[in-house]
């Protein structure tokens, strides 16, 4: 049902939104990657670079949904911090598409091959899960309460500085 390869994957430049032909994220994926993030297939991807970022993000963080506004903010911050970020994202997505790399093995594969793309997964993970883009002096906070490390445990914990509850509400077993 999902073609092995679509034109979107090879696109290395931005496509303007085309209302007559609605581009979907599915178009950027192979059967292998599509099977990892089935929820994302119907997501609109009018912009190839942003679409590739969403697809790669979904593969890396392994969630069943990603917030579109957050994706826009993170992409903007990452692309501003590194001019070749969009091209790197396309390249890494292509790599995963073609070689069927398990996200859990990805970092090991890139490190083992001394790939120039090796820092990329960590910078995307850092953006989504910690809300931090860049490192050292150039580090920037772009999300906190909506960073995935907060969202993933939001049923049990509030992010630090946010009150757990009225005095003593923390004495019971977390449910």
């Amino acid at each position: 049902m999902v073609p092995d390869k679509l034109d979107g994957v090879s696109a290395s430049h931005d496509h303007p939104a085309d209302p007559s032909r609605r581009r979907l994220l599915a178009g950027l994926l192979t059967a292998y990657t599509a099977s990892l993030i089935p929820w994302a297939l119907a997501q609109p991807a009018p912009h190839a670079d942003r679409g590739a970022f969403t697809a790669l993000s979904a593969l890396l963080v392994g969630r069943q949904a990603l917030d579109a506004a957050q994706a826009t903010r993170l992409y903007d911050a990452l692309a501003t911090a590194s001019p070749h970020f969009p091209a790197d994202v396309q390249a890494l997505l292509t790599l995963i598409n073609e070689r069927h790399i398990d996200p859990l093995q990805l970092q090991g594969v890139l490190d083992g091959e001394h790939s120039p793309l090796a820092p990329l997964p960590r910078s995307i993970m850092s953006a989504w899960t910690l809300g931090v883009v860049g490192s050292g002096e150039n580090a920037r906070c772009v999300a906190y309460e909506t960073a995935l490390d907060a969202v993933i445990v939001a049923d049990v914990l509030k992010p630090p500085t946010y009150a757990y509850g009225a005095y003593g509400s923390w004495t019971g077993k977390p449910s």
Binding site: A69, R140, C141, V142, E145, Y162, A163, G165, A166, S169
Partner: protein
Amino acid sequence: MNASTCCLLLLGLLATASVHAADSTDAALLQRGQYLATAGDCVACHTAPAGKPFAGGLTVPTPIGNIIATNITPSATAGIGHYTEQQFSDALRKGIRADGKRLYPAMPYTAYAQITDDDVHALYAYFMHDVAPVDSKPAPTRLPFPFNIRLSMAAWNLLFLDSKPFAPDPGKSADWNRGAYLVRGLAHCSTCHTPRNLLMAEQSSRELAGGAVGTWLAPNITSDANSSIGGWSEEDLVDYLKLGHARGKAQAAGPMAEAVEHSLQHLEPADLQAIATYLKTVPARHDPADIQAVDSWGAAFDGVAEQRGTPFPDDAEKWSGAQLYDAHCASCHQARGEGSFDGGLPPLFHNTATGRARADNLVLVILEGIHWTDASGVHMPAFANDLSDQQIATLANYLTRHYGNPAATVDAARVGVLRAGGAPSHLVALARLALAVIALLIVLVIVLRVRRRRRRASAGRA
């Protein structure tokens, strides 16, 4: 045991004995009197902050000036120790002091008029025997002219005082009648919650339709579903009166928090239930501005996410509503205004604090916070010292826009007025103006007569 301890013990025994000798009042009566005094919240006005119970001294601001609560301990020199039960009853239910002078209706004798003779008897016993006498007199009340003439209250009473005690409605349940008795009488809910006319008398035709107490809006508590508590369950009402909040609906702040802390939370469950039963039957008064229930506005909203990573302006006056919310409110009410897991830190949507058509109470609770005097202490911090009028206006508008009734907006000037304790009352000015107009008319008449006389005189000369 040493000699001094012996003496102390002996003194103690003698003191106890003398009380018993002087009065055979039984403990149950005194206990009931104490309960009724609590229900009447006498302590709220008749005790100064950190002062001795019932020794008076609290300044009650009213539209006609500050009224200073009197000492109602059984001190013969400074309090009401010399009052007979009849005199006590007259003060309580008719607003007439032992010396025959009139009380100002800051004392809710128009409500207390409903109290039964039996209950007056129990209250009298309690005040005379169980309250510790305090022999110091607070400063007297000095109102501006013309209100310093207490006799004027006699005319006022003639117009507005219904001095008949509560008569149960045989057509209603005992529960309802008990509730009506408490609400209209001792609990004097109408004192704040019933609107008043130009002469400061409660408009009985608009019972509990919403009034004012100082700068605070005392909301409509009739059975209207939108403007009031018509949509609340009786359980919600009991919770509110018992705990000071009803989850997902409202929290008591300002004078209502005091009423809950000092009076309502101490009432027996059956009495709270009775009050709830009665309130649910008070004829609905609808404000057309309330197009939906005041506790149904708003939804979770995240205004902080999009400004993450953006440095705050150095000048805090320029902080946006989201930034003010982030720095000052979100720590408890959370980034999306959803409150804590347990609801103990309340959500800001579906909350009367943000859902009213006027933002005054919201501004006031930001300014003053919610402080109880018991161990629970600060229920919400006050921000009067941390936030400027402009900041509070920006913040309040952010809150009503996203979490509450967006029609409720406020500007810095209004915050300033509320911070200062409200707009100066026009009543004194009006009363004086009326007198001045009369005086002017008299002068005019005299001038005209003199002129006429002069004209005549000059005409005579011509």
